[in-house]
């Protein structure tokens, strides 16, 4: 019999067996939960936005272009073209 057979099985004990658990605590008087939320948080948001901007904006612009072109082209096809009737008497 192996030691692993003694470990509980099934739902609630799936996956990794956790060992060597380390718990860190800090006194509440030593903490400021919102420290740096503006000073560091806002530049971080801007950095993350800059990193992803092009990879999202380029496909968005391309597809918006297709949507705009497609709807205008279909609208034009649904209407008469005044240029076709210029020489009518």
């Amino acid at each position: 019999m192996r030691l692993s057979d003694l470990r509980p099985h099934g739902f609630g004990h799936l996956g990794v067996h956790v060992k060597n658990q380390v718990e860190y605590t800090l006194s509440a008087f030593e903490q400021n939960p919102i420290k740096g939320v503006v000073a560091k948080g806002v530049p971080n948001i801007l950095r993350r936005f800059r990193d992803k901007f092009l990879v999202v904006a380029i496909p968005a612009a391309v597809f918006y272009g297709f949507y705009d072109f497609g709807s205008r082209a279909q609208l034009a096809m649904d209407r008469k073209n005044p240029a076709d009737f210029e020489n009518d008497v």
Binding site: P8, G10, F11, G12, H13, L14, G15, V16, V18, K52, V55, V56, I58, P59, A60, V62, F63, F66, Y67, G70, A73, Q74, M77, D78
Partner: protein
């Protein structure tokens, strides 16, 4: 000490001390939110079944009765109606997160997820027929007719599905039966989905599938984060239910079904429009039906991809390309059948499938 194998130990092990990666973002909230909306749909659905009548002569009127005369029936009805849109919306966000972070390499959980997607779409389709409005009847007619594309036996299968020679009373009652049954099947598969996720080393994380070096217990960190997500998303949902209840619905469905009058524009709810655009764009009926089915089942082929856990810039670029392609197909599915829209549906439908080819390489 909690006895091993007891319900409390299962719940505690799954939602209490479950070792979770330290770095999972809000993109990991969508799974639990889907669970929240499943519960919401089941509860509101049970209240609706207390007054709904699944008979062609009374179905529509029973829904009107629920809205106008049953105490808070209008709340149950609009919560259930809009809940379907939110349920599928969060499923799409969850799938998007899965593709972006390459979660399809957890093969078992991914394949159960594909089954869940198919079941959810089927349940939503069956549910939409129940009010027996114009769009309910004609949407059911259009989609069930697709089965007639099956060579040789298609027509017989369709008559068998309908329980007659057209969508009618037997169709409504059996759709009601399955619409009631499937959510419980979804719940069973959801438990299986969680089983495979927990059993494969736990949740993935934004940096890849492995996070065994640093884990934190699910409660209170992700338990409270999920509850925060529930509060925010359910508030948005209730805002839509009470203020913009008809945003996602079709005006044609406020008229009773009339088999003699075909609506000018038959279209499904928004969450099916991308597949509807692909279906309509192909002139051949059988190929159109195959494309419709493949537009959903193609997710099952992603685990065959080249195993690379890095999120290269090209993978990200193709992902967003695919997302906007999905959005434009959704728009095209709602457009009338005209030459330019048809052509665009063909082009973007092809690009939709090609995106999966590129996902498998990058």
């Amino acid at each position: 000490m909690i006895r091993n194998g007891s319900l409390v130990s299962i719940l505690y092990g799954s939602f209490g001390r479950l070792p979770s990666p330290i770095n999972i973002s809000y993109m990991w909230n969508f799974g639990s939110t889907i669970g929240l909306f499943l519960v919401s749909q089941i509860l509101t659905g049970i209240f609706l079944t207390m007054h709904y009548v699944a008979d062609v002569s009374m179905a529509f009127d029973s829904v009107v009765h629920i809205i106008n005369e049953v105490n808070y029936g209008w709340v149950m009805r609009y919560m259930h109606m809009n809940g379907a849109s939110f349920f599928l919306g969060f499923i799409y966000l969850h799938i998007g997160r899965g593709i972006y972070y390459k979660r399809y390499f957890s093969v078992n959980a991914w394949l159960v997820g594909v089954v869940l997607l198919a079941l959810s779409m089927l349940t939503a389709f069956l549910g939409y027929v129940l009010p027996w409005g114009q769009m309910s009847f004609w949407g059911a007619t259009v989609i069930t007719n697709m089965v007639s594309a099956v060579p040789k036996y298609g027509t017989s299968i369709v008559f068998w599905l309908w329980g007659g020679f057209s969508v009618g009373a037997p169709t409504l009652t059996r759709f009601y039966t399955f619409h009631f049954l499937f959510p419980f099947l979804i719940a069973v598969f959801a438990v299986l989905h969680l089983y495979f996720i927990h059993g494969s080393g736990g949740s993935g994380n934004p940096l890849g599938p492995f996070s065994n070096s640093i884990k934190i217990p699910f409660w209170p960190y992700y338990g409270l984060k999920d509850i925060l997500g529930f509060v925010i998303f359910y508030s948005i949902f209730l805002f839509v239910v009470f203020i913009y209840s008809d945003t996602f619905s079709d005006p044609d469905n406020y008229g009773k079904a009339n088999p003699l009058v075909t609506p000018v524009h038959i279209k499904p709810e928004w969450y099916f429009l991308f597949a509807y655009a692909i279906l309509r764009s192909i002139p051949n009926k059988l190929l159109g039906v195959i494309s419709l089915v493949m537009s959903v089942l193609i997710f099952a082929f992603l685990p065959l991809s080249q195993q690379k856990f890095s999120l290269s810039i090209w993978h990200q670029f193709i992902f967003w390309f695919w997302v906007f392609d999905f959005m434009i197909l959704t728009w095209l599915g709602g457009c009338p059948v005209k030459s330019m829209f048809n052509f665009m549906s063909q082009v973007f439908g092809l690009l939709y499938f090609f995106s999966f080819f590129f996902f498998s390489l990058l």
